[in-house]
Each structure stands twice: as structure tokens, then as C-alpha cells.
Symmetry: none
Subunit: 204 residues, 4 copies
DNA sequence: AATGAATGAGGGTTCATTCAT
DNA sequence: GATGAATGAACCCTCATTCAT
């Protein structure tokens, strides 16, 4: 694997582990066993690394976006898709968690970041559109977009705030997906479908 | 107003404006027109300021928490309450936005932070409990808690990610509250109540 | 003596000795026995030190400028005045020697530098004006200004290029002053005065 | 043209444009479209490039020096010769402008540099000797050498300090030559010759 | 001749924090 | 309560230079 790729991979791991602010360019180089000069030969600084990671994340989401029409055929497809989506987000979670810090430390990232956010919003809106095609949600388009935003925000927040820090990443992802599906539950039920495992409702 | 309070107020404003990472102890002192030594006389460092802000936020949420039983009497009470809640969150938004960066820069904040998060979770769960008391939601307690978590995450994310950066703070807050209500809409409707203004549903 | 003054003094000595490019902020701090942080507390960087030195030099020249009308009463006054002038230049010689390097490393100095150069030019022109008042030089004003420029350039160059590097600073200054007077010799002679010690002319 | 020559040419252009200190080995290689490794194959470093440029300049001045006896036949020959001399200096102006910075950054250049300076001094002295042969200057040899030094310094300074930065290079050269001739004017006049265009003298 | 990844020392700068006054 | 000079560690980055290919 080329040095450039190794830098990106290691950076992402370190950024996810300790936050982008806590990881210096030198610590990345040290973790890789390369000299700081070499790091700067491949990327002109931390900002360029982050730009590359943002682009990678954007690309991964773009691929998901393109596959939505094909993959979301029935109500059972939403949970796996949400999981794929959350998996991408989790893989690049540092980008979402440190969003605010990055905004001020690296104004140059603003455009990449807003492009990324726009794409997520599109995915969220398309998700509800597909759901509506399967069975009318009983919402105005405006309400549907609001619901899409809430869904997206809830998903983003599940990447940022770990409610069960003790559980491992995969379990957290599955729980996040379930929580998101609960938001959609009434609409899926209205479509005569309940994708979430049935439990006894209204226990005290 | 005492110097201690002025430090907290100014810090919060600066932290909200430019992020906690971008604001140094010196810049707080400069903004206040006091010497760095004086700042350190009142607070042993940036971490202590943040701890104090976390405590203030926690206190404000505690007050809201205690009033819920009294204030949430009918379905029309939920929107104002959500607004109050979001207003507190918005006032201390730097704490939520820089959560990740703070976690690593100041491990000493971890306990205060998890206490804060727990309280928000309690509020969210109590919110749905009250709703359930008004009219059964048709959810198991576990599903209800998941819904509560989604609601909370959506609220937290609306503090972290500005979807409409051009609008002013108050407008953003109202939109956030509406978005959250959309999440609850099916349950409120099931209770024979629709707190959100009626629009023509299912337009193409 | 205050730290600020000590920084300026030491910087000037080091800059003169080894050139502005060869002296780092750290080496100044080390030479003074202070920490780099303290250096940056007093000056935001090397550029601010240089700006302050340029201002000091400008001030010294301004003082000389103001005294010219009073001090240049007769032909015997020119040599001492030239020596004073050269002494100031020699004291700040790093500014003239590294002029080009500074121009590119610190564009912020451009304005201070051009102001300084303008003042030197004014002094040179006033010098010839006074000489002309003592005895007509037989030059058009335009020719007189050209002569003033040549005189100034010759003086500046004597600060930049050491023709006799083995001799000590004071001797070099005196020789420089003599060289400059030789340029003026024909005009002083025409005024019936020969301020330079008489030697036997036109030896083989 | 061989790579070696292209390196020298491009280096000289860049050094003249932005100063020797601001131009790194890498930037020269980039400007040439070659790899840094290739640059170091031809020259062991920036110092060797500068040594080569010093040698080129020295050679050009040597050629001028040898032609002086032949070319300086009459008083009208001095201006064109001065122009040729200044043109060489202007072509290699970075060497003179950054003299001080180079001295400390590259002590290895000291010998080449002092040889160069000595040659210029010889040329300046020979110039006055030829003038004296055309018509006695009325100066002792010592005074004549001092005048030669002043002339040389004035010429060097005109390469280092741009008094009229807005005018193009050729115009600056011509003005510099005129300024130098003004220094010689009294002696040329004394020889019954005025090489500078006559203007009305002693206007107020 | 030429490439380009890699090195490592060093420079400029920031900042949380201390302490004598 | 308050000042402000001082500290020192750490960070980001540049650059001359080397070397395997």
C-alpha cells in the first residue's frame, strides 16, 4: 500500500480514536514510522489530510446514493440500507464529531463539509421519497422534508454522541439503526409492514 | 457583576462564536479587559471554566426537568416546552458542538459531561412518558425509550449542525422544535391531537 | 533596562554580526537568556523587531535632518556631519545590508523601508543645497539631485560592502567619509575651500 | 541547451526576481520541470549554483576589463562603457543585493566574492587611470583611488537600491550611468569635455 | 541523466500556566 | 483581587539533501 493511502488510513484511525484536535501531524508520522518531512511531502498539512478524508467520505456516500433506487425495493430493505449508511458515517465519524472544531481551525474545509452535508440531506430525503412510493406517508412534501431532516440529524447525532459507550462499535450501529427505524415505525406500520421485531406494546 | 460571572459569560459567548478550541485563556482575558493572571485567580484554567459552564447547563436543565410534571398538562404544552429545552441547549451550544474535542483535551470533564447527557436522556424519556399518559402511544417501554433517544439525538444534532446557517438563532430554534414535533406527529395524531399546523397532505 | 529594549539592542548586534537571515528568533532569546515565549510576548516575531529597528533608525536620521540647518554653517562642518550620518547608518547597517532579503521575507516592512530611504534621500539633497548656498556648484537643480543620489548611494554602499574588512569599524567610517568628500572635492575647491587634507596632486 | 546551463539561467532569473533566500532548491527544480534529485546531480546544492553564477559574473567582468585599453579611447567612450558594466552587474544583481545574506549562509562563497569585488575595484581604478591619461584630473593617486572606490560603491548601490522602482530595468540602467557620470563631470569638464548633455546650470 | 520518496534538523509561533509584585 | 512579565513544551511547517531505482 502506498504511503499516501497509509497516511489517510492511519490518520482516520487516530482521528476517530482521539479526535482531530488531539492528533498532531507529528503524531501521525510517528504512528506510521515515517518522518514529518515525508508526511508533508504527501500532504501539505493536516488540513489536506482532512480534505482527502472528506472527499473519501463523500465518495462513499455518493456510491450509496446511486444504489438507493435499486436497493430500496421493499420495506425490508430499509434497515440494511440504514446500517450501510451508518457504517460509512461511523467509519468517518471524526469528521462529524469534530465538525465545529474543524470549521474554525480550518476554514478551507467549509466547502467540502457543506457539500458532504448536502449529500446526506439528499440521501435522507430520497429515503423518505422511496418510503412514500411504497406506501403514502400521509405527509405534505414539506413535512416529509422536515421528517427527513430529523432523521438525518438523529443519525448524525448517533455518530457524535455515544449513548452506550461500553458496547462495541457494531452493536452501537445496530442500535442506532433500530432507533432510526423507530422514528419511521408509524409510517411503515401504516403501510401494513412492521420491519422492527414485534414486541408486546404498551406494557406499563 | 462579579469578575467570576463576567468570565463565565464572556467565555460562553466566545466559545459559542468561535469554538472552544479556538479560544485561548488569553483571548478570554483580553476580551474581558483583565489580565491572564486574574483569570487564573478565578479559575485554575480553561477546564475549570468549562466545568462551571457544564454545571450551569446542568442546573438549567434540572430546573426544566423539575417543572415537567407541572407544565406538561396537555398536548399544546409540548411545543413551548421543547422550545425552552432547545433554548437552553442553544445557549450552551458550544458544550455540545465541541463535545468530542473537549473529551480528549480535558478528560476531567468526562464525568460532568456524562451526567449532563444522562439528564437530557431522562428529560427526553419523561417527555414521552407524559405523552403516553395523555394518550397511549402503542409502544413497548423499550420502544418508547428508543424513540426518546432518537428524539434527544435529533435535538442535540440540531444544536450541532446548522442546516440553515443564514437564518438567525431564534428562527433556527423554532424550526428545530417543529422538526422534533414532526417526529412525534403520528403519536399525537393517534391521540386525536395535531399540534402542528395542518397542511394539505400527500401532494405529489 | 527593560526587556523590550534589551531585545532590540541584542537583536541589532546579532543582526549586524551575522545578518538578519542567519539569526532566528530563538537565537536572540538564547543570547538574551530569556525564553522564546517571552520574546514573543514583547514582539510578535522577527518582523516586529525589524520594524522597531527601522523606526529607531528613522528617528535617529530625523534628528540629524532637523539639525542640518543649524550645524552646516561652513565647509568645515561637512565632514563631521557626514561622519555622524555614517555612524547612524553603521549602527543600523544590517537594515541596509539585508535590504533585499528583508523585502521578500517580510513584505510588511516595505513601507517602513521606503520611508527610511526617502528620508536619506532628503538628507542627501539638503546637504548639496547647503553646499550650493555656501558657494554655487555650477549645477542645474536636476544635476544637483543626481549628484545627491550618487552621494547617497555611495554612502549606502559603503555600509553594505566592506572594502577594507580588516580595519576596525571606526577607521572604516572615517575612510568612507573621506571617500564621500572626494566626490564633493571639486565643488568645495571651487568654493575656494579644500576640506580634505592637502596632498601633492598628480604624482605619477 | 544542457540541463546544467538551464539550471544556472533559471536560478539567476528566480534569484533576481525574489531574492536568493526566498528561492529554495526545490522551487528551482519545479520551475525547470525537473526533479530535485536531478538538480543535485548537476550541482551539489544551492551553494554550488551560486559559486557558478559568481564565476560567470567574474568572467564577464574579466572580459570587460581586458577590453578597456582598447575601448576607452576618448571621453565619449566612457558612458557606453559604464552602461556595459552596469548591464553585467544588473544581470547578476542578486549576487550584489544578497551579498550579506550569502556571506553567512554560505561561507564557502567568501573567496569567490572577494575576488569578484577586487576585480570590480580594479576596473574602477583603471577607468580613472584612463581618464587621467586623457586629461590630468588634478588628483593624487591616493585621491584618485578613493574616487574610484566611491564610483564603484555608487555603481554597486545603484544595483542594490532601486530609487525608481516603477521604471523598467533598461531605463534604470541609463539613469544609473548618468548619475555616475555626474560624479565624474567636474573632471571631464576640466579636461575640456562635457559628456553629459548641457543644461542650464545654477537655476534657483 | 533523471526520478521522487524519504530524512531530520531547525525555524517561527502559540498557549496554558506560574509567580513576584 | 489584580497585574503582566516570564516559562517551556508542543505544534506546524520548510528545506537542503540523500538515495534506491
Amino acid at each position: 500500500m502506498g504511503t499516501r493511502e497509509r497516511i489517510l488510513d492511519t490518520s482516520l484511525v487516530l482521528f476517530n480514536q482521539e479526535g482531530t484536535a488531539a492528533i498532531s501531524a507529528l503524531s501521525i508520522a510517528t504512528a506510521l514510522g515515517i518522518s514529518p518531512g515525508n508526511l508533508y511531502y504527501h500532504f501539505r498539512g493536516k488540513e489536506e489530510i482532512l480534505t482527502a478524508l472528506l472527499a473519501e467520505c463523500d465518495l462513499a456516500l455518493d456510491r450509496l446514493h446511486r444504489r438507493m433506487d435499486v436497493e430500496l425495493k421493499g420495506p425490508m430493505d430499509f434497515e440494511p440500507f440504514l446500517l450501510s449508511l451508518l457504517r460509512v458515517g461511523h467509519h468517518f465519524r471524526c469528521l462529524f464529531r469534530d465538525q465545529e472544531a474543524l470549521r474554525f481551525a480550518h476554514p478551507g474545509l467549509a466547502r467540502s463539509w457543506s457539500r458532504l452535508l448536502k449529500r446526506i440531506r439528499q440521501i435522507s430525503q430520497l429515503l423518505l421519497k422511496r418510503l412514500n412510493q411504497l406506501s403514502p406517508l400521509g405527509l405534505t412534501p414539506s413535512q416529509r422534508d422536515k421528517l427527513a431532516d430529523s432523521l438525518m440529524l438523529s443519525a448524525l447525532a448517533s455518530l457524535c454522541f455515544e449513548l452506550e459507550p461500553d458496547k462495541d462499535g457494531e452493536t452501537q450501529l445496530i442500535q442506532s439503526a433500530h432507533s432510526l427505524l423507530v422514528l419511521l415505525r408509524p409510517y411503515l406500520e401504516a403501510a401494513g409492514l412492521n420491519p422492527v421485531s414485534n414486541e408486546q406494546a404498551n406494557a406499563p
